[in-house]
């Protein structure tokens, strides 16, 4: 049984939000005598994460993802509940904890904008009080692994977003954190760079056993990086299981691509749960709701009418699965 690295029990956070009133006059009144209302960002969320696990923490905008991460890193004080990260209370033992965890906020840079990354490494070694010899060894190791040697001495503002993000992650690993929080680490990056960053993070988890806590809007991040997913919406947990289970449960649709023998002939399937997604000459893409109509039925219906040259059956991208989860939870609320 692996060790628990994060334990969260009924964690909640409410914000006091100033009620804004319409119109200028009312706004002025609000300035003098503001009215507040309580807004729950996170409500009674509980879960545990084992050491070395790769967890995707998902949810739509405003679901409470960032708020949860900020409570787990000690940035925010919760309104209720408990949390333990590496056996420490994040908001009470923030400093102690910060030596053992790392965080990358995709939109809040830790790098000094006008300085080359090498200077930020130096500064971080002071912030984390690293022993000089150990610091140098670790730095060189990270530089090599992340391939950031070539632009180590270029001012950060002149780096591309992908280069910057690699430096960003490398810097956050300097003090060998046991848990790393990645908040939207691939936002704004192109496909190739995203893939590279995912490989680096996977490698890190494999070799150093670092626990990964990731939030992302990118389905690829979840599929390629994580083995478990927690989905929250409206501040509440609504799914917590392995990524494959999530795919199975919400994977009610299949994408079927086929190449037909004859040219563009109108296809009249008229089957429930089948949608034509794309038609390009002999190439046809269908989306099939397998809970309504089986793939077999669809294919036999087509084959009765036409010649089939090629068929592939695929899972839809994670993006669709997550979107579907949100919409099904929204309708059940």
């Amino acid at each position: 049984m692996a060790q628990v690295s994060i334990r969260v029990e009924e964690l909640g956070k409410t914000f006091r939000v100033k009620r804004k009133r319409e119109g200028f006059k009312a706004g002025l009144k609000g300035l003098l005598k503001p009215e507040y209302e309580e807004k729950a960002a996170v409500e009674e969320v509980s879960f545990t994460v084992r050491q070395g696990e790769k967890l995707a923490f998902l949810g739509p905008n405003g679901a409470g993802k960032s708020t949860t991460i900020k409570m787990l890193t000690g940035i925010l004080h919760p309104s209720s509940g408990h949390a333990e990260v590496l056996g420490l209370n994040p908001w009470k033992e923030r400093t102690k904890l910060s030596h053992r965890i790392g965080s990358v906020f995709g939109q809040k840079s830790q790098l000094w904008y006008h300085l080359p990354p090498s200077d930020t490494f130096e500064l971080m070694s002071r912030i984390y009080e690293l022993r000089r010899s150990d610091y140098r060894r670790r730095r060189d190791e990270l530089i090599e692994r992340f391939g950031i040697g070539p632009y180590l001495n270029t001012a950060v503002r002149k780096l591309s977003l992908g280069e910057r993000m690699r430096c960003e992650i490398a810097v956050s690993l300097l003090h060998r954190p046991q848990v790393i929080f990645l908040d939207e680490p691939t936002i704004g990056l192109d496909v190739v760079v995203k893939q590279h960053i995912r490989e680096l993070v996977n490698e890190l988890n494999r070799e150093e056993g670092t626990t990964l806590f990731l939030t992302s809007h990118d389905a690829g991040d979840v599929e390629r990086l994580c083995d478990r997913a927690i989905v929250i919406n409206g501040g509440r947990k609504m799914f917590d299981d392995r990524v494959e289970v999530m795919k199975l449960r919400y994977l009610t649709h299949k994408t079927v691509r086929m190449v037909l023998g004859e040219g563009p002939r109108p296809l009249r399937l008229q089957l429930a749960g089948v949608q034509e997604q794309q038609r390009d000459g002999v190439k046809l893409t269908l989306s099939i709701d397998t809970t309504v109509t089986s793939i077999e039925t669809v294919l036999s219906r087509i084959m009765a009418d036409q010649r089939l040259i090629d068929v592939t059956v695929e899972d839809p991208p994670m993006e669709e699965i997550i979107t579907q989860m949100y919409s099904s939870s929204a309708s059940s609320r």
Binding site: F15, K65, I75, L76, R94, H114, E122, E129, R131
Partner: protein
């Protein structure tokens, strides 16, 4: 491995402060021309002021006791204090903005004392001009003996501390009231403005104000109360005020931090 929890804590803290300052300066040096231009214009700006007030105070001896030299030292201490605050602790006057826009996250996710880390993470380049100006004025008008230098150093340190922690206090209002950047900035401006006039011109309620709500008097009387006459009662008052402001500012900041709501509570990002 980390040396955290090993002895020698304060030494490593100093190393960290030093590293921050060095990074600030290196960052400023990236734009050498603009650096010189900004520091230079600030210096010119200060010089224009002082030449003008020099003319004024030569024409009108303000109050009994305040001589031209005292007025010059008043400027040296005030500009020097503001300058040192803005160069070495340049984020002081930006705390309210950082709180409102949720930019304390990075400091909170790192192990160093949050207030200190915030304060030293920015350097106002133009303020270097203020510091240079202060030293120039001291060089021309100050007492350049060893004891005079020590006194001037002490006066600068005290003024700097009052500036920093008064600014911290007014900026911490943002934790409770929200967007107070404008108000905080104006209170800071008021303090700076008051410190550039001799305390001798104020009477009654005005004088009371200067030694209470806007503690400018504790800075602007330094040229007389420390540099010239070394008045023990006044010095006791200054040290007391510095103590109260420092402790109060730190306490207020950490109390406010518990109410910190970070930036994007609705998931809306700018």
């Amino acid at each position: 491995m980390s040396d955290y929890a090993m002895p020698g804590k304060s030494k490593r803290l100093l190393w960290f402060v030093w590293a921050c300052w060095k990074s600030n300066l290196l960052g400023a040096m990236e734009f050498r021309l603009s650096f010189l231009l900004m520091a230079g214009t600030m210096l010119i700006n200060d010089v224009v002021w002082i030449i003008f007030w020099g003319l004024y105070f030569r024409r009108f001896p303000v109050v009994n006791g305040w001589e031209l030299q005292d007025v010059m030292m008043l400027w040296a201490v005030s500009a020097g204090g503001v300058g040192l605050m803005s160069t070495l602790f340049g984020n002081s006057s930006r705390i309210a903005g950082l709180v409102v826009s949720g930019q304390l996250d990075v400091y909170l996710s790192q192990p160093k004392p949050v207030l200190l880390h915030v304060l030293i993470s920015r350097m106002s380049i133009s303020a270097i001009g203020d510091v240079a100006f202060s030293l120039l004025v001291y060089g021309f008008y100050g007492d350049r003996s060893l004891i005079g230098l020590a006194k001037f150093g002490l006066a600068l340190a005290l003024a700097t501390l009052i500036f920093i922690f008064f600014t911290v206090v007014v900026n911490c209002l943002a934790f409770w009231l929200g967007g107070t950047d404008g108000l905080s900035a104006q209170l800071f401006n008021a303090l700076v403005t008051f410190t550039t006039y001799p305390t001798g011109i104020f009477r009654g309620a005005g004088k009371l104000l200067l030694f209470t709500v806007v503690p400018a008097g504790f800075i602007s009387y330094l040229p007389i109360g420390l540099l010239r006459d070394a008045d023990p009662l006044f010095m006791l008052g200054v040290v007391g005020v510095v103590g109260v402001l420092t402790v109060g500012g730190i306490w207020l900041f950490y109390t406010g931090l518990k109410r910190y709501t970070s930036g994007n509570m609705m998931g809306l990002r700018r």
